[in-house]
Amino acid sequence: MIEFFNDYIVSALVLGSIYALGAIGISMIYAILRFAHFAHGDFLTLGAYLALEQIYLLGIHPVFAIPLAMVLTAIIAVGIDKAFYRPFRKSRPIIMVIASFGVALMLRACFQLFWGVDDFYYWGIQPPMEMFEPFLIGAKHLYIAGAVIILISATHYLLAYTRTGKAMRAMSDDPDLARVTGIPTERVVVWTWIVGASLAAAAGVLLGMDTRVKFDMGWNLLLPMFAAAILGGLGRPYGAIAGGMVIGGLEEISTLVIPGDYKSAVAFGVMVLVLIFRPQGIFKGRVL
């Protein structure tokens, strides 16, 4: 039992929270802007590289590189929205999807141009050490858990108690009604990018802490993050968090029975099953 916890539960929680942070943005952007944002994974990568620069230049611990990485990624995301998505706001959703695919390609090309194709590792990450005997939890996993708890609490506070957060939820419920209610929808859209992209950037840094930094690290997580958003119900931020934890957990635990190389098939399988049997997801979101 303790072995199971050490080998599977810890990594399931870590992977699940990374998916959860990424899926919140995907879910909200889908509901508010009505398109599947294919470049979202690359926001994770962007955040990871922006943290890498801070760690190498300033010598700080990766966790303390998260805030600035979030801010810079949010600014770049708002800029990308202005330049590449806003002109298509009134077009059919598929046009936006293709545009986001183009942005994803551009971002990855930029990563390769600036940082090459090799793996990077953050400094200041200790190897796993024994804590809370007999449980074995790595120090980096404690940092990740702390960061996730702070980020999810902040997101909850924003969505449940602030005027802007409530407007985001209102708009993801019904953008047309939000408009006739007098909510300035373009401003809410900007906030959606800020929240979605900054959480994705944080997820990227955490993923970099857990594994490594590479130009395609975020792109490779796009499928499980979409699976998490769909499982939780598109437009339901709390659903996205739950969906992320479930997908992350299932992927890790699946390695008990199938080879680890195939674990991403689990996310795909769950997504297909959800789309067939409960397309609105657990929390009754929008149907894809």
Binding site: K166, D173, I183, P184
Partner: protein
Amino acid sequence: MTLLTAQGMTGGYGGMDILHNVELAVDTGEIVVIVGPNGAGKSTAMKAIFGLVHLREGSVVFDGKDITNSQPDRLVSIGLGYVPQERNIFPNLSVHENLEMGAYIRRDDIAPALERVYTLFPPLVEKRKQAAGELSGGQRQMVAFGRALMTDPKVLLLDEPTAGLSPLFMDEIFDRIIAVNETGVGILMVEQNARQALELADRGYVLATGENRYIDTGPNLLADREVVESFLGGGGGNVNNDAGSTGPQGDRDD
């Protein structure tokens, strides 16, 4: 000059005109009803006032300001409220949050407005923390009205407020509309239950094929045989008996 005046409204979705030279007016504290057969352009006329349908010609003036083809956030801020027919609440937000969203554009204290809505719609008080999507049809409609009342509008536009409600709730909603009106809010509503709505109306507009047909007080329209026969589906309370006998006569008179 009346508070809200729409003149010569001509326009529609895309290239096709649905409205042809339509006029509508609402004065302070009035109840004005738009009736007419399906496809007459009733809802379209209301949406055109609220800037949701593009007007090619004509003008809409509210409180002395030209609001032709204006954006909703501007209209809400100057005192016009709009309640769509369907999807008029945020289902995953609580009742209270729905009302708060109604007041999004306000920067001042919204407590008096909340108080007023809860006084007008007492059933909402105990449901305030519940998700609006879980309420009954009649209560959802109260949330929708309440949301639109949060900005203290001078005129409220209601698109078929009783559509899809059982007769019991229908009377309840009409009572609430009167109560809202008695607080000084002008009402412009599109209504399928034409007879019941016209009984309340200071003025009624009969639209057909996107044009004004009749404009008169509610009681006068209900007393007009031609209007009743052509647009209200027969005369009097016993619709079935009268429709058969007087309908053909009406046709001959034309």
